[in-house]
Symmetry: C2
Subunit: 206 residues, 2 copies
């Protein structure tokens, strides 16, 4: 049919429009979410609205590691029980959260806010690289784990940082790449499989 369809009253349409801008949320899902909110109690809608707005007003970057923080230094940088001489370098705050949720890492972080991509105009000055090197100059750093993504830009960024730290005499390591746990060799792509063989580890059962 060619005539414009009725999409509900103004405030409903507006909410659908705004919700549909979220990643992974289409028109249909936005409508479903809006309808849910219409039925939800006012307390929840208010809490949701306030928390969304709070993301823009209540958050800043930690001046040391540049992760998200709601006070000056973030709680990880302030945590004396964490190894402050071990820095894990990641591209984005979401990478930090992913590593934290694995529960394996008890050092600190440094968030670059991107990766080197000369073709997109992202050079070292656009990332928090200067601040990372300054941090390694000001305080004792034992090891830097380069946890940028295993794609072209992430690899280039890791290589770039590894050279800078080599010049400073600080040892670096790179997160392991290989077959994901629970994965199957037959479904792994060639590059991953090649890498997994190349970086095989000594296996010594007792």
């Amino acid at each position: 049919m060619s005539h414009p369809s009725y999409l509900g009253p103004e405030s409903f349409r507006k909410a659908v429009n705004e919700l549909a801008k979220l990643p992974g949320v289409g028109e249909k899902t936005a409508q479903r979410l809006a309808m849910y909110l219409v039925r939800a109690d006012a307390d929840y809608a208010k809490a949701l609205a306030e928390s969304v707005w709070g993301l823009k007003t209540g958050l800043e970057l930690c001046p040391q590691c540049f992760s998200l923080s709601d006070k000056d230094l973030c709680s990880i940088c302030l945590d004396a029980s964490r190894d402050q001489e071990l820095i894990c370098v990641v591209e984005d705050p979401s990478d930090l959260l992913a590593i934290e949720q694995s529960g394996y890492f008890k050092g600190t972080y440094h968030v670059l806010h991107g990766s080197l991509a000369p073709l997109k105009g992202v050079g070292p000055e656009q990332l928090k690289i200067h601040q990372l090197m300054q941090r390694a100059t000001d305080r004792k750093v034992r090891e830097v784990i380069l946890a940028t993504n295993p794609d072209v830009e992430g690899e280039a960024t890791a290589l770039y940082l590894a050279r800078l730290f080599l010049n400073k005499g600080i040892s670096t390591s790179r997160i392991a790449m290989g077959i994901p746990m629970g994965g199957h060799l037959e479904y792994a792509d060639h590059v991953t499989l090649g890498r997994a063989i190349e970086e095989r580890r000594n296996f010594n059962p007792r």
Copy 2:
């Protein structure tokens, strides 16, 4: 690992919590949405927050058809070009939107806000049935289309309403049930297929 994992600063965690309460949004998606909002510009976060809150403050029910409205009568009830003597009865505002978006219906609606479910304590008094009968008494109504869902409660509600309208001498119709357009007979459930055969239509090619 057993220790609680770090989920980001307070305002971030709060937004993740609230977003994760939305239907179909899990913890992981909520985190992704929150991260998207952190990066989005403040104008968008503000518009989203305001439109969400607007769903609770800017909407009421149309006093005639009980669909969502942001002024007194909704725009469908106010539309003189629509057939005001033809009423399509639906369970929920979202059903109204679905029918509107099909673009085939040019009458008016009546939203019951549920269906008869005695076991859940939903009787005729809990729905907008009294208001529907009053509406059919106050104004001329030619036909009532019963577009409740084709499930147990929806069928019972349609039957209940059909009897009330029969007593009033107003004719009712029920939306057609059968194989969905583009569907395949082999995948249709038995009840739908049986209904489709029972309600077969005369087919007269020229």
